[in-house]
């Protein structure tokens, strides 16, 4: 039929042949006839011929060569899919002669235009390698080339090839590491698994152990263990000691690349593919800091809903994890409860997990569960449960007796297996504290009549022998019975009978001498040589004869030595030295081709190896990883764009979407670049910058992983906003024609690529300006960065502040400004880190940092809101001071105080009170301090340091902190000098009980929405004549209360926000102006008392 001209006949023939192959029948005789059809036009026939060819080519090498030319022709085909399939079949033919041809084809395909062909080339690499391992060096070259590929299609396949051919060449990964991390989420799922596993190994060699510090602490600062660590480490340790009151800070700095890996793999926990989830889970388990590992638990528990095979593997891994990190799975304890329908192997594994999770708090519930399991019909499972109870009992001392009692009850169970198992477990438990439980031993001795399971019998005999002192009456009796049935016993029981006899002989030879002799005689003629041997040995040892003097003295010691109690351990202990999720881990044996998970390096290898050369035009001062990554992303994007152009011609439908997604990706990268960009919440991006900046630039090792995660989240947040924007834009794009859409992004990206960083920023700003129409107003943006400067946490944002400063110079500056600035500096210093008392970076003028053009640009941007900014920057031009002690009453000493509105550094919950002492008397005052503080409950005071000497006519200031507990009750205390005491009191105005917080307009609205009803107070008012413009309102409100301005779209409203100092409850105030002088004041505050008082105060401030 194959020779027929008709395709349908050929097809029918091929189908039959394939069916034969499928059934495993040999069809190799037909090889010549089939090979002829390799060039057949019909696709199905062709495919089936390929199937046949690949199957039998190895056996018929010469004939297979006939088909090669067809594939070689296919490799040159203009259609990428035909090229790919030709390469695929060619490389699948296992004929050694064609190795050079394959090599050539792979090399060519690796530089093919189409990513699909390149992917196929990557697939072909391991095939060729298995055929001829000598080609390794050449293949590594190809792999290196393909690793540099920037398409998601290729990434998975090439890493698979890498793993198969040269997993030891970790150096090839360096340059591609960041790219792989970034591409990961878009790679197809199978590729993800391979990449994640590879990256786990890579990270193990390249980064420091994030849990290093914990292990140090656990070992009680045992430095010898990590003695070889570099000096830096020790310094860090010292730092740690010195800053003991601030435990949050860790000396360990996570490499930004390490963080990148963790961050980019986390979303994959949500994958539908169990293998991907498992891969991420093992990555987190092996690489993440302890605090972060917990995230994987939820995902793994979810997998337990899947097929039983998946459950089996997952439970194995969970069991390993629970040994090391028990806390992780404790909240999910109930998910491991066993159902009667589970297969036995799953039940046993679940039991293992439950046992590992047992601790003092949950043991009672677990034991209750175990009780139901014991009644199960599945006897293997019951046996495993009894073992598990035994382990719980050994691990948790408190329940030992309960468990023991439970197990003893089981001894009366009808099922022999259960009884036997419990005997074995009881034996182990009793060994730990035999004294207390002689009655249990007695009970068990009675059981010998009934129990037939040899292991259990043996256990009982051993127990009796071992503790025969506790049961002196019963033991000989048992031996008597046993001697009777000796010949019918199993070997293991016989051995124990001999053992028992020997022990009894030593302790109680009067009663048992004859019995022992009898037993030994029986054993002497036993069929089993072990038993005969043992009998002979024991006879020599215990029965005193003339010849054997030496050893028999020690017989008692030999037999009745105290035996150490067995330790019941999980079989999963120490399994985690295998990479979790691997086959080797599952089998607890090294599988072929398993790559050991390397130990953490003691010192991090040079991280710069991962740097990728970037174009000169984008060389920037910044050395953070992120900067570069964004560039990478951009490159990749250009690449994919080009590619799209290539593929577009054939398939137009999906391009819309593809361009969309690509551009979204591009967008996502952006926040790294231009931190002050309009749309992304500025404070957030500042945060993320601070992470990277302080991580690498300050280098003093302050930023712990905690802040790392925070920034991570915030980044995601900002990204999403970006996406939203994108969505809207997209709508418009949809209407455009295909061509336009194509062109636009290309241009966009090109311009981006060529522009320098600075220009880039400008460009961005302009763009954002142009886009402004949609949601956020100009003022908004400026406001944001303004507040950023006030909360500045990072150098980057400080430089922002610098820009602002410069800008301010151009505008009219309020007189109080310098003072304010200084206080801000102080704040930022405090926030940065305590043990870096170096002059703050702000001191150095950074004006040169930005080109003039940028500055003017910024100014241009902020013109529209010039009215606002002075108000926000100088909330109170003059701090209102109050009198504490009058000159006359104080006999020459006068004291004034004001609320400085700075955070009180020793305690954030206190209000800082700045006191000014003036000595108007003629003599000096000494030892100025405070005493006898009388406070309402809950209030606290931090006293000011004693002023030792205040000469006549001089003035001194001091700062004290008072925690008013969000009430306006006065703090009373005595002010003492060396001669006198004065009773004074400080009562705060309600406006000073809060500190400003920064909110965006949306946040404000959201919060306001949550504080409605009882929490909202509003009041109508008529504005004072001098207070009719916005500026004045802002000034008055901020003078009355320590609130910060919230950006607002309409010019009829002013919004303010703050938090109470102690409880941190939100205080929101809105002043809405209407026609003429009418206005409405609204205050939203959780604390109604504060709210009412604030309304009064603000009202007063605005109407006067």
């Amino acid at each position: 039929m194959l020779d027929s001209n008709k395709d349908s006949l050929k097809l029918e023939a091929m189908k039959r042949i394939v069916a034969m192959i499928a059934r495993g029948k040999n069809a190799s005789d037909l090889f010549p006839a089939v090979v002829k059809n390799v060039a057949c036009k019909n696709i199905e026939v062709k495919k089936l011929v390929y199937v046949y060819l690949v199957r039998y080519a190895e056996e018929q090498q010469d004939l297979a060569l006939l088909s090669i030319s067809t594939f070689q022709r296919g490799l040159k085909d203009p259609n990428q899919l035909i090229r790919a399939s030709a390469l695929r079949v060619l490389s699948s033919i296992r004929v050694t002669i064609i190795v050079p041809i394959m090599m050539l084809a792979i090399k060519e395909a690796a530089s093919d235009m189409s990513p699909y062909v390149r992917k196929t080339a990557a697939h072909a690499i391991p095939k060729l390698y298995s055929l001829d391992p000598e080609q390794k060096d050449q293949l590594i070259e190809v792999i290196e080339k393909l690793l540099a590929d920037k398409t998601t299609l290729v990434a998975g396949s090439v890493v698979m090839a890498f793993e198969e051919v040269c997993p030891e060449r970790i150096d090839l990964i360096h340059k591609n590491y960041r790219k792989l991390c970034n591409l990961l989420i878009d790679v197809e799922e199978w590729g993800q698994v391979v990449i994640i596993n590879m990256l786990t190994r890579y990270a193990r060699t390249q980064f420091l152990n994030p849990n290093m510090n914990e292990s140090l602490l656990e070992e009680g600062n045992d430095k010898t263990f990590y003695g070889s660590d570099d000096d830096e480490d020790e310094e860090e340790e010292e730092e740690k000691k010195s800053e003991a009151p601030m435990p949050k800070r860790k000396p360990y700095v996570m490499d930004p690349d390490h963080r990148l890996l963790l961050r980019n793999t986390k979303p994959l926990l949500q994958s539908r593919n169990a293998a991907v989830v498992m891969a991420v889970a093992q990555l987190y388990f092996h690489l993440a800091p302890k605090v972060e590992v917990g995230v994987i638990a939820k995902a793994l528990v979810r997998l337990l809903r899947s097929h039983s095979e998946v459950q089996y593997v997952v439970l194995q891994n969970v069991a390993s994890m629970t040994i090391k990190r028990r806390g992780m799975f404790e909240p999910y304890l109930k998910s491991f409860y066993i159902r009667s329908t589970d297969p036995t192997q799953i039940k046993v594994l679940k039991l293992e997990v439950l046992t590992n999770l047992a601790n003092e708090t949950n043991i009672s519930t677990i034991l209750r569960e175990f009780q139901t399991y014991i009644k199960s019909m599945d006897k293997d499972f019951v046996a495993a449960t009894i073992q598990a109870i035994g382990r719980c009992a050994t691990n948790i001392g408190e329940v030992r007796d309960t468990c023991l009692n439970g197990l003893v009850q089981l001894l009366s169970n009808r099922d022999e297996l259960v009884v036997a198992e419990s005997v074995v477990v009881i034996k182990k438990l009793l060994q730990m504290q035999p004294e207390k439980h002689s009655d249990i031993i007695k009970h068990m001795a009675k059981l010998t009549d009934n129990i037939q399971v040899p292991m259990a019998r043996a256990s009982i005999l051993w127990l009796i022998g071992e503790y025969c002192e506790h049961v002196p009456k019963i033991a000989p009796d048992v031996l008597r019975k046993m001697a009777k049935s000796f010949t019918n016993e199993e070997d293991i029981v016989k051995l124990q009978i001999i053992n028992l006899a020997a022990k009894l002989y030593l302790t109680n030879s009067k009663q048992t001498k004859l019995l022992t002799q009898y037993v030994l005689n029986l054993a002497k003629y036993d069929q089993n040589y072990d038993i005969r041997d043992r009998a002979r040995f024991i006879r020599q040892l215990i029965v005193p004869t003339e010849k054997s003097g030496a050893l028999s003295k020690y017989a008692k010691k030999l037999f009745l030595a105290l035996k150490p109690a067995p330790v019941l351990e999980s079989p999963f202990k120490d399994r985690d030295h295998f990479q979790l999720g691997s086959l080797s881990h599952l089998l607890n044996a090294k599988a072929g081709g398993y790559q050991e998970l390397p130990d953490w390096p003691e010192a991090a290898p040079d991280p710069s190896v991962r740097n990728v050369e970037v174009k000169d035009s984008v060389q920037e001062v910044r050395t953070t990883g992120e900067g570069r990554i964004s560039l990478l992303g951009e490159w990749r994007e250009v690449f994919t764009l080009l590619e799209r152009v290539a593929t577009l011609t054939s398939v137009p439908e999906w391009t819309k979407c593809s361009s969309r997604e690509k551009r979204k990706e591009k967008k996502v990268e952006k926040p790294f670049y231009s931190d002050s960009e309009g749309e992304s919440g500025p404070t957030e991006s500042a945060d993320s910058e601070s992470d990277s900046a302080s991580g690498s630039e300050i280098g003093s090792g302050v930023v712990g992983s905690v802040s790392g995660t925070a920034s991570e989240e915030s980044e995601e947040g900002s990204e999403s906003e970006e996406e939203e924007e994108e969505e809207e834009e997209d709508e418009k794009d949809k209407k455009m024609t295909m061509k336009k859409e194509l062109k636009k992004p290309v241009q966009e990206s090109e311009s981006e690529q060529s522009s320098e960083e600075e220009e880039e920023r400008k460009h961005e700003r302009k763009k954002s300006k142009a886009r402004k129409s949609d949601s956020e107003s100009e003022s908004d943006e400026d406001e944001d960065s303004e507040s950023e400067s006030s909360q500045s946490e990072s150098e980057d944002s400080e430089s922002e502040a610098e820009v602002k400063k410069k800008k301010k110079a151009a505008q009219s500056k309020p007189p109080s400004k310098p003072v304010k600035k200084e206080s801000k500096k102080e704040m930022s210093l405090l926030d940065l880190d305590d043990f870096e008392p170096a002059p703050s970076p702000q001191v150095t003028p950074l004006n040169s940092f930005l080109s003039n053009s940028l500055a003017t640009d910024l100014e241009g941007l902020s013109l529209s809101d010039a009215v606002l900014s002075p108000a926000t920057l100088s909330p109170c031009s003059a701090l209102k001071s109050y009198e504490l002690l009058h000159r006359i009453r104080g006999e020459g000493l006068s004291v004034e105080y004001c609320f400085s509105r700075q955070p009180f550094s020793p305690d954030a919950n206190m209000v800082a009170v700045q006191m000014q002492f003036t000595n108007n008397a003629t003599s000096e005052t000494k030892n100025l301090h405070m005493e006898e503080v009388k406070l309402q409950s809950g209030m606290r005071v931090k006293e000011f340091p004693e002023i030792e000497l205040l000469p006549a006519g001089e003035t001194a200031t001091a700062v004290m902190g008072i925690d008013f507990c969000d009430s306006t009750q006065a703090a009373n205390f005595q002010l003492c000098t060396h001669t006198r005491k004065f009773f004074v009191s400080i009562q705060p105005p309600v406006g000073e009980l809060m500190r400003p917080v920064f909110l965006t307009e949306n946040e404000f609205k959201k919060e306001q929405g949550q504080l409605m009803g009882m929490n909202e107070l509003s009041e109508k008012l008529t504005l004072d004549a001098e207070c009719r413009n916005e500026h004045a309102i802002v000034q008055r409100v901020t003078a009355a209360a320590n609130l910060s301005r919230v950006p607002c779209g309409s010019d009829r409203e002013c919004r303010f926000a703050g938090r109470t100092v102690t409880s941190g409850s939100l205080v929101l105030a809105t002043v809405a102006t209407k026609e003429e002088a009418a206005a409405q004041l609204t205050v939203n505050c959780e604390k109604m008392v504060i709210g009412t008082m604030l309304v009064k105060d603000v009202l007063l401030a605005l109407t006067q």
Partner: protein
């Protein structure tokens, strides 16, 4: 990676083999058969079996063992997940995945396997791409094929593989554009003897059937997305948007697919829609046992509990059961000792009950365990967790699609201990 695949039926015959690298003799399966013999139940065969030169990883679906042979280290879940994907694909193609179906379509199976793996590494596993490459067999097409001699291998080249949305076919066209979503929730629970809940969890899925022309971009939002504690998505869902806004935004695959599966945290109290009153006892000495079971609705939010099916594995000693069902029918299989009672719909006015006696083996002692009762049920138009879809929007295409959402609650692994 995967070297070879053997399909073994329940009676232990290898009925299909496929090799991706050099041929591995089928004698390697002997190790598998050994393990199979050792396991008492078919599902107790260990999924991973080491042999001297190979490792066998198997899954059991539809009473067929899919045994993959691998030679070197590979994540076992990788293989297991892939094998399940193969089974899903077969099911998708042939409707059922039985030995007969596979034997009938052996050529299609072979073609599929050829496309799914290349040199043992997964290549195309998305059903949309595969269907483009190899058309699923239908009766009509087989007829046409035999007459005209045309093939069921797609003439088209697998362009989908090149796409950035590999899960969607290109050039989809429908006259009726429709998108249906089924929110199905399953209650997993263990109820103890006294009727109190030991554990209860809600696992849900949203299955979609989307038949929309072109390249639609859908967004699905929930009224109460916070309910979802843990979710896993089809690769088409944009993760970032979910993280930020709790909105599902995706370009759907064509046809049926599982959009997401989720877990409602166990912290929330789960409303259990049925209760069971039971009294099952065996008396010592007598060869009789009492069996008394009553079902009733509970916390159903006014919806009827339907398709109730009770099953219980009675102890080995039970010879026969002589019961009387007030509603529905019951069967007892004396060999497997499985009692099933098909109740149907629960009528709150007249609660269904099953009462009677069980006869035990004469002389046998009283079984020390009481059987567990497994219950299945369904309630329509309600998601027990209270999850509600807010709206579905479509972008990217001009037509107005027909949208539909259905809610259902089912019993998952719902067990009552007695």
């Amino acid at each position: 990676m995967i070297h070879s695949l053997f399909l073994v039926n329940a009676s232990g015959d290898i009925f299909l083999e496929k090799h991706w690298k050099s041929v591995v003799s089928r004698s390697v399966c002997d190790y598998f058969f050994e393990a199979q013999e050792r396991a008492t139940e078919p599902e107790n065969v260990p999924p991973v079996i080491p042999t001297p030169h190979h490792y066998l990883i198997s899954v059991l679906r539809h009473r067929i063992y899919f045994v993959a042979v691998i030679q070197s280290e590979v994540p076992p879940l990788f293989v297991i997940e892939f094998l399940h994907r193969v089974v899903d694909t077969f099911q998708d193609y042939f409707g059922v995945c039985t030995e007969a179906a596979i034997k009938d379509n052996v050529v299609v199976v072979y073609e599929l396997l050829e496309e799914m793996l290349d040199n043992g590494f997964p290549l195309a596993t998305e059903s949309n791409i595969l269907k483009e490459l190899i058309k699923p067999p239908t009766i009509l097409r087989t007829m046409v094929n035999t007459i005209t001699g045309s093939t069921n291998v797609g003439e088209q080249l697998p362009t989908g593989q090149l796409s950035v949305v590999p899960w969607r076919r290109t050039g989809v066209k429908y006259t009726n554009n429709e998108a249906y979503f089924d929110v199905v929730e399953e209650i997993d629970a263990i109820i103890d003897k006294s009727g109190s809940t030991i554990t209860a969890e809600i696992q849900g899925v949203i299955d979609a059937c989307v038949k929309l022309t072109g390249m639609p971009d859908l967004t699905l939002s929930f009224m109460n997305p916070r309910l979802l504690d843990d979710v896993s998505f089809h690769p088409c869902v944009r993760f970032k948007r979910w993280e930020a806004e709790r909105i599902l935004s995706f370009i759907p695959p064509d046809g049926n697919f599982r959009l997401l599966s989720y877990h409602v945290s166990s912290q929330n109290l789960v409303a259990i829609p049925v209760y069971v009153k039971h009294n099952i006892s065996f008396r010592e000495g007598s060869s009789q046992g009492r069996f008394d079971l009553t079902l009733g609705p509970k916390q159903t939010m006014g919806k009827a509990v339907e398709a109730v099916l009770v099953s219980s594995q009675l102890p080995r000693g039970v010879l026969n059961a002589n019961l009387n069902a007030s509603q529905g029918t019951y069967t007892f299989d004396p060999v497997t000792k499985m009692l099933t009672w098909d109740v149907g719909k629960i009528n709150p006015q007249k609660l269904p009950s099953l009462k009677g006696t069980m006869s035990l083996q004469a002389g046998a002692s009283k079984p020390d365990e009481n059987p567990t009762i497994n219950i299945q049920f369904k309630t329509q138009q309600m998601a027990i967790s209270g999850l509600k879809v807010n709206r579905l929007d479509m972008y990217g295409e001009k037509y107005k699609p027909f949208k539909g959402i259905k809610y259902m609650t089912k019993a998952g692994k719902f067990q009552v201990r007695t």
